[in-house]
């Protein structure tokens, strides 16, 4: 009974802190603008199954992709056991879901195997971060704290797997032939670890690992929202909320279209359209909920930057940095905006204080970043929205582009060539 009460107390604290953090993070969504209506649920489920559950995009990089996929699939199976632990903890039962029989055996058995696989994968990940020099893990936006963050999360997962196996080993040692569930790896490990143990020793071994595992889960769940590893929660929803248009599509600015129509033909335009408060994106309150969701889901894996033509050729742009900056800026300005209203200013902005014009103008909109992102973050759309701000509110385009604008305005072509020359190429055409 005491154990149940302690468990309930710890669970309530965990859920309470988690709910508080979530409400804080999610309140920032109220500051963002609309992006697109979430329709086509069937298509979205398909994408989620393929990209999130099937890990199709992370597998584009086969080696690390497979390791990640194994960790992900492992987590999905292992979570079933964690759920059971919460029930057991509250009800004072042991392996209560064992009543599912063969289904339970399969899930718990594969969870036991996955624990070992995840443990090995995490060791590889840690080794890559600690002992290898991998370009993808470097960059201006990857501060020392980000590196520590990554290593803490990996260490926690490692400990989670060690304690899970420990718990299973203890369980096998205690119950021998009449155990519920199957434990292929732990059964084998028990032969080495608990063979000489007394029942009393095995009991303590099991209990320590049980508590260690569940407490680590509770702590991990509450650290995640403050870490890039928040993606454990956010990436599946983010994939579900993917933009569905082809990557080449750029969203229309209906207000600008309306203004132009009004200019050209006052009667044709829809006079109901709301006034434009800002052209494009200057700061966090101009971004869309999708941009912010992307920022929360970004794991800083750097696949986007690794394939960016600008980044590859030494230019300042790093697509990953755009979303790392957005997340940091929201954390900085969000509370002030909520407290003081949408007109609040701290005399800083996402553009310039975080993201320089040089970065924004280096983008070729080639969409390699968006193609590569394992969780369907769309970088070019946000970069373009910031260009829209620079051009339409500040007229701050590079000289070459201003020339191009003038040419289009004057001759209807980006070059200084007039419409009367448009047929030159058809002259003396023989076949």
């Amino acid at each position: 009974m005491a154990k149940q009460l302690i468990f309930l107390f710890v669970l309530l604290i965990t859920l309470g802190v988690f709910a508080w953090t979530m409400s804080r993070i999610f309140s920032f969504f109220n500051l963002t603008k609309s992006a697109f209506p979430v329709r086509n649920i069937g298509k979205r489920i398909n994408i989620t199954l393929k990209v999130a559950i099937g890990q199709s995009k992370i597998l584009r990089w086969p080696f690390t992709g497979l390791l990640h996929a194994l960790v992900f699939w492992g987590f999905m199976v292992i979570t079933f056991g964690s759920f059971e632990m919460v029930i057991d903890g509250l009800a004072g039962t042991e392996r209560v879901l064992g009543t599912f029989g063969i289904v339970y055996d399969i899930i718990i058995g594969s969870g036991d195997v996955f624990a070992a696989i995840v443990l090995i994968a995490i060791l590889v990940f840690l080794a890559r971060r600690l002992f290898l020099s991998i370009g993808r893990f470097k960059g201006e936006e990857i501060k020392t704290i980000s590196k520590i963050d990554a290593n803490i999360a990996l260490t926690m997962i490692l400990l989670l797997m060690v304690s899970l196996l420990g718990m299973n080993i203890g369980y096998v040692a205690l119950h021998g032939n009449n155990q519920i569930g199957v434990y292929p790896v732990s059964q084998w490990l028990a032969g080495y670890i608990t063979s000489g143990m007394t029942i009393y020793g095995a009991n303590i071994f099991h209990e320590v690992n049980w508590w260690a595992h569940i407490l680590l889960i509770f702590i991990f769940a509450n650290i995640l929202p403050y870490s890039k590893h928040f993606h454990v929660f956010t990436s599946i929803p983010n994939v579900f909320l993917s933009r569905l248009e082809p990557l080449g599509y750029l969203p229309n600015m209906g207000n600008v279209m309306n203004e132009v129509k009004l200019m050209m033909n006052p009667e044709a335009a829809n006079v109901e359209a709301p006034p434009i408060s800002r052209f494009g994106v200057k700061d966090v309150e101009d971004t869309s909920w999708k941009n912010y969701a992307d920022a929360l889901a970004c794991t800083e894996c750097g696949r986007c930057t690794a394939v960016c033509p600008a980044a590859i050729t030494g230019k300042k742009l790093s697509p990953r940095k755009i979303f790392v900056d957005l997340r940091a800026r929201m954390k900085e300005k969000g509370p002030g905006l909520i407290k003081n209203g949408i007109d609040y200013s701290d005399n800083k902005s996402l553009i310039r204080d975080y993201i320089s014009e040089e970065e924004l103008w280096a983008c070729t909109t080639c969409n390699a970043c968006a193609q590569e992102c394992p969780i369907n973050i769309n970088h070019p759309t946000l970069i373009l929205d910031m260009r829209r701000y620079l051009v339409m509110e500040e007229a701050a385009a590079p000289a070459g582009l201003n020339m191009m604008f003038t040419n289009i305005e004057n001759n209807g072509a980006p070059w200084q060539r007039g419409p009367e020359e448009r047929l030159e190429w058809t002259e003396s055409l023989n076949a």
Binding site: M257, R422, W425
Partner: protein, 263 residues
Amino acid sequence: MTHTIKVPIMADLSQQGTKPEYLYWVGCAGAFDDRYQKVARAFVKILHHLGVSYAILGKEETCNGDPARRAGNEMLFHMQAAQVVQLLTRYEVKKMITTCPHCFNIFLNEYPDVGWRGEVIHHSQFLQQMIDEGKLKVPKDMFNNQKVVFHDPCYLGRGNNIYDAPRQVIDALETDRVEMPRNKSFALCCGAGGAQMFKEAEPGSKEVYAERTEEALATNAGIIATACPFCMTMLTDGIKYKNKEEEVKNLDIAEMIASSLGL
């Protein structure tokens, strides 16, 4: 037997009370870029060879606003788009062929937002269809198993998932087609997209076009095939920069087909 080709103009046809099946949207590069004019010429030669019913807008064509939009000038884009939509509506254009993936993308994906919706086909798709349907038969001896490497334009490939059409067009010819390490959805941009074509590149350690050209040259292909005017400019510059103009040619897939037909 040579004969002069007269490219049909939409306004003329309209005056005669006829309407072509396709509008060929030439694009600013096709009209004005010295190198890409040759691609436009090669493509209309193929259209005549096939007897396709088409016309161009000629002097009425104007920029569809894509470079302005990609550079952030949404206002200018909409001013151009309004004019273009008016033109397309006036001539009741239902099917359009483009030789530029940027024009292709904006008409296909973004013009429905501004008031024109129709069938938009990139010339790589059009040529592939004609080959598939058996209408376009190409003699195979022209390229003699020459090594060809295809560079994916971003707005055709990643932008719209068209990877196979241009490759199938090349494969209709007898070539030894090879791939760069970064190909299809992994392809590296030529460096010209997103209005980069019209501005100086930001400071860096290297030009994007040099990086991509080196990758293409490393395949030892004698022909770097493209299907985009901007890619062509960049890769042609890259080949010059690497002093390989003697050994390596940069051709559009339409030029390859036209030359195999002796057009």
